[in-house]
Every structure is written in C-alpha cells, then in structure tokens.
Amino acid sequence: MFLREIAELLECEVLTGKESLDRDYEYAFGSDLMSDVLAYVEDDTILITGLVNHQVIRTAEMLDLKAIIFIRGKEPTADVVALANDHEMTLLATKYTMYTASGILYSKGLKGISV
C-alpha cells in the first residue's frame, strides 16, 4: 500500500517526508513499546505508535524503518521531526486510535508481521 493512500485513509497530517509518499509498503507494526519494536520488526515495515519522543526515531533508525504514523492526535516536537528528517523518514500524524487506525489499514490489505 502506498503511503499516500495510507495518509488519505487515516486523514493524516504529513509532518515530514512528503517526497516519499509514493513508497509502497506491505507490512505495519503497532506498538508503544520500543523494546518490542526492536525485538520483532524487520525492515520496510511501517511503525504505528502513540509515542512521540526521540527514541521512536532512534528505534526506527536502527531498524532502517522509513515511515512512522503517530496516532491519537499525538505530535512530536520540532527537534524530533528534525531528527526524522535527517534520516529521510516520513512522519504522519492521525487522530485515530491505534485500534481504529490499524483496523482501517488491515482491512485495506496492509499486513501485520509475524512474531
């Protein structure tokens, strides 16, 4: 699924990385626990999270993840966005909850990873 389509489905604000909205993804993983993200996620997965601190970006960086969707209307501070920008990530923000956002994307064919 293209990031552009995801952004539309979840009525997202694009915080950074507009130029990568044509990137195609097959998998997503939702968690507020970065420990679990580090333990389970493989590359090229979209991260869906309600955490908005530096460590979300660092976690994504270590795993080579390039797209993060912040849920529940949470938005990171400018320095967190800048860090994501340094690593050419796309950050999206939606008002939907983790459950609803995940449900919408899953019903449209974006798969979950197996752990």
Partner: protein, 140 residues
C-alpha cells in the same frame, strides 16, 4: 592479533535526547566501510539496546566499537548497580525498569535477550554495585 579500528563513545545516564547517538555514529561508520546491511542492522539494534540500558540502569558508561576485517565487536561498560542475577536478567520479559522508563517505551525486559539474539557471541559480566559489561561480537 590482527589490526582493528576503535571508536569510543561515552553514554550519560538518563539523558534521553542524546541516547542513541553512539549507536547512530557506529551505524554510520559501518555503512561507510561498506559492511553488509544485515550485519549493520544487527550491530545497530544490539548497540542501541545496550546504550539505552546504560542510560536507564547505570550512572553512565561507555560504548567501544572495534572493527577488524573479520568481525565487529561492541563493548558496553557501565558504572552502576550491576546485575545480581544474570540468568534472571536474561529472561524475556524480566525487567527492573521504573514506570517512567516504561513511558519512554522501554523496560519490557526484551533488551538483553534481543542483544544476545543479534550477536554471534555474547558475553555478560557484572559485579554488584560496581559495573556491568557486555561484549557482543558479530562475524563478517
């Protein structure tokens, strides 16, 4: 002994805006050296978990990365409370992290098992009230 390159970074305690910088720098160096991306990823995850652990659980420490033509070695050593029961600490899901740490997204008790999973060789030594040291080796 074969020649290796050495990079050293200090890791402060409880500073979560800088935590991850050492791992990020090491990842950059490995990429510049043209090392296999799968190995870089495993080194990055293991180093980052170790860096977060130093920030969370110790009074600060340092991360040293040694790179030879045949292996990458990451040594994470902290000054701190040490680990009383290493076997228990290595158990998935066991954690002594506070609720503040959990709010940052860590403290799920996955760190040490994940570091071991990412490494080819994993050694942990600790002395209560003195230090904990992890040596993680990945063969190229």
């Amino acid at each position: 002994m074969q020649e290796s390159m050495k990079y050293e970074f200090s890791v402060p305690t409880m500073d979560f805006t800088v935590a991850g910088e050492a791992s990020s720098s090491i990842k950059k160096v490995l990429r510049q050296l043209g090392i296999d991306s799968g190995i870089i990823r495993r080194v990055a995850i293991a180093t980052y978990e170790a860096e977060i652990n130093i920030a969370i659980h110790s009074n600060g420490g340092k991360i040293t990365c040694l790179i030879s033509p045949e292996w990458v070695k990451v040594i994470a050593k902290d000054n701190g409370p040490g680990i009383e029961n290493i076997e228990l600490a290595m158990t998935k899901g066991f954690s002594t992290a506070t609720s503040e740490i959990r709010e940052l997204g860590f403290g799920a008790g996955m760190g040490l098992p994940n570091m071991k999973k990412c490494s080819d060789d994993f050694e942990i030594t600790s002395e209560v009230d003195v230090f904990t040291q992890l040596v993680m080796t990945l063969y190229l």
